[in-house]
Structure formats: C-alpha cells, structure tokens
Symmetry: C2
Subunit: 477 residues, 2 copies
Amino acid sequence: MPAPKEFLEYVDNKADLFIQRLSDAVAIKSVSSDPQCRSEVIKMSNWIKDQFSAVGVDTELRDLGKQNLGGEELPLPPAVLGRLGNDPTKKTVLVYGHFDVQPANLSDGWGTEPFKLVIKENGQLVGRGSSDDKGPVLGWLNILQYHHECKKELPVNFRCCFEGMEESGSEGLDDLVKRESQSGGWFDSVDCVCISDNYWLNTRTPAITYGLRGLAYFKLMVSGPARDLHSGVFGRMVHEPMTDLVILMSKLVDVNGHILVPGVDEMVSAADVEERKMYEGLDYSIADVDSAVGASTTLSSDIVEVLMGRMRMPSLSLHGIEGAFYGTGAKTVIPAKVIGKFSIRLVPPQTPDNVEPLVRKYIESEFAKLGSKNTCVLEPEHGGKPWVGDINHWNYEAAKAATRAVYGREPDMTREGGSIPVTLTFAESLGVNVLLLPMGRGDDGAHSTNEKLDRSNFIEGTKLLGTYLYEIAALKK
Amino acid sequence: MPAPKEFLEYVDNKADLFIQRLSDAVAIKSVSSDPQCRSEVIKMSNWIKDQFSAVGVDTELRDLGKQNLGGEELPLPPAVLGRLGNDPTKKTVLVYGHFDVQPANLSDGWGTEPFKLVIKENGQLVGRGSSDDKGPVLGWLNILQYHHECKKELPVNFRCCFEGMEESGSEGLDDLVKRESQSGGWFDSVDCVCISDNYWLNTRTPAITYGLRGLAYFKLMVSGPARDLHSGVFGRMVHEPMTDLVILMSKLVDVNGHILVPGVDEMVSAADVEERKMYEGLDYSIADVDSAVGASTTLSSDIVEVLMGRMRMPSLSLHGIEGAFYGTGAKTVIPAKVIGKFSIRLVPPQTPDNVEPLVRKYIESEFAKLGSKNTCVLEPEHGGKPWVGDINHWNYEAAKAATRAVYGREPDMTREGGSIPVTLTFAESLGVNVLLLPMGRGDDGAHSTNEKLDRSNFIEGTKLLGTYLYEIAALKK
C-alpha cells in the first residue's frame, strides 16, 4: 500500500502554505536555554497544540513542573501529547519531535535575521529551527492536514509527543514518557516509534539512522594553592596544578584517537566482513569529511575506518580547561585550581556506569605515579547510554520502502556519532522498535549560524514521513 | 656619616602629614591599563611634578607619545624627571619609581574602598598603590622635604625618574632612559641607581635585592578544522588540535618543576658551597612558603632548594589555553584552534634569544613525532633578560649600612623570581650599579585585593632611603 497519489499531489499543491506555516513557527523565539525567551517557548507549546487540534488530533498540554535556571525558578514549557485513531486492526505509531531551538543572534554571523524565515533563490529556507526541529514537526502536521481536509482515514493509529526542552537536556520528559508508557497511559499499545530529528550523512542521499553513541562526561580537577600565584614569585617553588592536569590529560587519548584508558577501546569488538560492507556502501568520502571539517585532517585515508570511528567506535575528546588563563595576550599566572573537561562517546556494550570506574582507576593510578602534593578529583558529569536499533524490524522495512518510493533510491543506513537521549528513553520505556528518519541534509547547520532546510527536503520529507505510515500499514496488514 | 638625628626626628614628627599625603596620592585613580582612567594617570604625573618642585627639585614632564589601546589612541602619561644638586665632589644617585597602579574595584573583594586610604588599628595603610609604588615614591619626597624645609644640603646629587606606565609594560620609557643616559642627558654622570619597587622576602626582615629573573613567553598554536566541531559527530574522525597541544604541553615541564626542553636547565651551573650558604642565611622557612601559597605543596622540604628554585633557577609555567572551552558546566566541543600559553623565567646566562631556539627545536621535533595532520606554530611573545647586580659594589655596602642603622639588623640579600624590566634598561644604558631597596613587606598584596603598606614600613622606610643617601656619601667621601 504505497501512499495515495492524492496525498502526494496535495503536498505539492500546498507547498507554499506549508512554508508559510514554517515561517510562522520560526518567528516564535522558542530558545529553551534563555530565560528571557521562556514565554516564547510556552507560546510555542500552545501554538503546536492548536495546530494539531485544528487537523483533528486529540491533544493535551502536559505540565512538566519548574526549572531552576541560575537561581531563577522558571516554568518548564508543557509537552504536547496527541492521538488520533484507535483501531485495533492498525499499528500504532508514536512520533517525537521538539519545538524549542538553539540560541541565535544576528551578531553571531547570520546573514539574515535568524527568526525570520528567508526563502533563498536556491530553495534554502534559512532560519533558526527550520531544520532542527520545527520543519520535521510540521512535516507530520502537513500529513495530518491532508487526511483531515480530504476526510481520509490515517493508515495507522497516530500518537505524538512534542517537547520544548530538547536543546536544554529534555528536562522533565523522561518521567512523562515512562508514565505514559504504562498500561492505560497515552503511549499504551504503541507498536513502534519514529523520531525525525537528525540529518542525512551528506547532501545527496536520504538516510535512516539505527544507532547513536552514548556519552560519559568528566571533570578532572587538580588544585593546590589557595589562590592564583604569580609565576615569577612562585615558579619552581610549588607543584603547579596546570602541570599535573596537562600531564594527566595527555594520557587519556593518543594523537590517532586511540583511547588510552585501559579497557575502554577493548570493550568494543571489531567489525566483521558483513558490517564493514555496510560502511563501504555508504555514500560518503574523505572529500565529504574534509568539506565538513574545512581541512584535510582525517585520522585515516580509508573512509570506512573514518566512518567506523564516528559510528561504531568510542571517542575521547579534550574540550578545555576551566580556571586557567584563556584570554588573548599573555598572563603570567599559576592557576590555583584547574578543571579539565573531557568526554567519551560510548557504543554498546559501553555505558557511563561501566566506563566510569575504568577512567577513575586509571586517573587515580596515573596521578599517584606523579608524586604531586596537589589534590586531584574526578567528577563524572551527565551521561547517557548508547543505542542501536534492530534494522531487520518491519519499522525499518517500512522506512526503507518509503525512501525508495519517494526518492527512488536506497537510503544510507547510518549510526550517529552524537546522542539523542530521548531515543533510549522511548526504546527502554516502551520496549518497541525505534528508528530515526531524518528530513534535513548533512549541511543544514543545525546548531550553527544560517541554519537552513532545503525546500525539497521539507516537501519531499513530508511525503516520506506520510509514505512511511502507509508502508507500515502495508507491511503489517 | 650616618643620617643626622634631626632628619630621623623630622620623619617621626611629620609621620601623620606624610600619611595624609599618601592618602592624597592613593585617591587619584591612576590605573594605567584602563582607558577610562588615563586622565587620572596624567593628573598624577602633574601632581608628582608639583610635589617634587615644591621641595626644591628641578622637574620636567616628558611626553612619551601615544598608545594604541584596543583601537583607541590615548596619550601616554608623561614621565617626571627631577634633579637636585650638581656638586662634582658628590656621588650622583638616580632613583626610579612609578605612580600608576593596578586596577581595583570594591567588588573584587576589597574590605574597603580601594582608592581611599584607610588607616587600620594594626597600623596598616590599606589602599591601591600604598605599597606599589606610591609609598616608596613619596618616601623620596619625604626626604627631600626635610632637606628643603630645614635648609640642609643633600649628601648626594639627586636624580629621579618616575613613570606612569609601569603596570602596563613601561611603554615609552626605554627610549627615554636610553636618550637621557647619553652624554648631556638628564642622567649623564649618574653613579648608581636605586629602585624601590619590590618587597621583603617575609614580614620581618628588611631585604636588599640583587637579582631578577628574565622572561621568555610563548604561544603554541595547534589548528586543524576550519571551525569548532561537535565531538559527537567528529570525535575519532579527525586529528583534534587539543589532543596534540596537550601532549606537547605535557612534555615541557615535569611535575617537580624540571624543564624538559633539552639544554635549558643545563645552562645554569649548580650553586657552590658559598652561594648555598647565602640561601641558608635567609630568614624564610617552608612554613612561610606554605603561608604565602595557602597550601603545603613545595617541591622540596628543603627551604634552600625551594628558595633557589625561585631565585637562581629557571622555571616553566603553563598558564592556560586560548580557544578551548573554559566555562563552568559541560560543552562537547572539539576546538578548531587552540593556543597554549607558557613562559620560562630566565636566569643568567639565559636570555630570550638563546632559549627560544631550544624551545623551537624541541617543539618542532616533538610535534613531528606525533604524526598529526594538524598545523603547529610556536610564537615567542614579549620577553626580558634576567639581571644580577654586583653585591660587592659600594652601592650595596651603603644600603646594607643603612639597613643596619635603621633596623638594627642584617638585610636578607635576595633575588626576585619575577621581572622588573626597567632595572635592566638602567643597568645597560648607564653601565652603573643598580640595586633594589624595598620599602614594603612580603604580604603587602601589591597586585591583589586589600593592598597595604605598614605604617612602620612607610616611616622607617623613609628613614632607610634617606640614610642610604648619607651612607653613600660616607663610603665615597
């Protein structure tokens, strides 16, 4: 059961209206990390509820409580839950998206006002949130509008969960998802989940994503003096915290990305021939990496090795040092307390819980070897488990069939190097298959300046998400 | 020829007036690094000129040109030159000081308004510039006032050079000193120099300082990507500049302060028995270091080793990293370009010119060993040569005799771990002996909050500087 021709035509015919609605959504400054914008995020919750109600969805705002942000108590923007259809002969699909956005200012280097959607001649729709994640959320709305206006029944039972705190740690969402996943809850009887909140690997080939890395973030503090010291007066008198910290940080990862913490890399088995073949089949080259990075600095000249480095291997990055001199110019300070920040991206079977003891043991042992009189403390920060979905599930088969139908080609089957923690929450709370079905391209610049969504990705992406629902119905008839 | 009893009594009798004048000087916000305060520094130039003129000194303001500060062109505060006496049978003494100060705000943690001198019950005169360096400059003024009011002839020919840019790199001063040192210049025929702009080693024992370390400051840049990258997306795909930089920085100095750049430590010969004895004689203990640092983290439990580490050994400190994440919290960035800041404090025979090639060769060799595709550039910043004076010269004999006369004890003969670059300018331009004769104590907090000068240091210090002039005359009669 491919999607009806009328649906595809409807989407083409309504394209300009859909883009106007995306423009309305972008104009609401729903920056979740900025207390000044909190009322705009809440306005966005209501806007989303109203839009989905208008196309026949039964919606509810769900209060998520309050948030303490820099000493200020702020109301969390309500999540929007929606449901349409309750036919026991149909599959029930839950879709997730978010309507909050990253901060954006013209002065950051935007070419145009970030909260005013600009339609460029090359078809790019430029504006904050166009691709991450207002475009995909409105993709679902477009589909529902067709069925509502044309009085067509959806091929599946539809459930949605849209939140306004994704860019700020999805505060409050985990509890809601767990609660609603229980018997009698809003997500009871959900059969599969579809999340459209990531990107194609490149700018050419549609993708389906079946894995995400987890994260273990660490703060490594070395302290000694009670206050910062003058390097002229105290240099070579006392153990300097920066010296100790830099030595410890230099022992975490080598120049080729190998993690030096014993046991961490070793947890991950090598790829077999079959898995390697999947990476060989991806439409991505060293030139694509170089273009994305703006330099030729890949760890290997073999694209399969480089892609596996992102997708199926853990990585350790040194992010910076808090407490040391960071300005331009020259300052002759011996910092009293310095905090190294580093994190490890995790892949199965790694978890924050099984990696942290390895890091702690190693740091403690290396610091003891130094014989410094300073104090060293390792503090694990927020983390998250990795996730890998079962690509042989009918949920993936439906997404692949939809991609073939809309784009006429096989999708890249990708794993993301980053994390979308809510994915794991859905997978674990519901115990059903989850897939990521991206709408935008790899160069959309989601958290960067001049974020855009290509018009064709918005329109064909709407068709893709709609066709995916029909393919589920066809496969599971 | 010790100082006349009348001079010493005069100083005691006028103590309150001297302190009132110090209060007037502190009230002028002569912060040389703050463009907003530039007019106050210039006001201070005029105030100093007027004060020294009033006690019979022939004074001149010397224009030092303009300064470019953050794109703004500012007039440099004029230096104040002074002279009194031209008797060929007397020695000619040049004294140096500065009347600009470090920034200070109540919000930095001051207990009282920083630019209002507060006389505490324990005798501390608390205010910005009290000790660094308005107190010592006014010490010379106090001496001249006695001779002027009481119509006494000075025992030496007096020359002075006071500047208003010391806390901002003494911009413009070097050229002036070199010019005035030439035949016919203001400093022509100067026999020795006395600088009162440092501190006792402790809070108990007067000191004379005969050495300063030099400085070679370096910026070590590693760059790769054209922009900062997301560690989830790019972690383990590309060579990360932070990884390379931290490895390089970890190879510069070990945890015990030994400099790992081949040839640097090796340039300095070991102390012989006699030199060691000088350090053994200093009134300073590990407890004093611990108290100054606020922690027990000395590199050795032997105070002689610790003091030699500051005074006669080079030191290498890692100050920080520009371009990396430095905030609180957690950020999962791969910084695109990071600049490590480190500096080496130098002792003879080291100079920035002979140390820099060793650092460059070592960094280039170590970076090549890494095999990274990133780019590494070493950039030497401002530097200065070290200085050691001849302590057997009559200039030092006079200062020692004056210390015995005023304080009734032998001074600590110290070398400073830091740099006062103008010292070397005077030594090299004039080719005469230079000494540092501090007025304040080791805990004055010169660049810190709650800077103070003890009343007794101001009053006895005035006697010390005056007696020093008389001892020169006695020794060289």
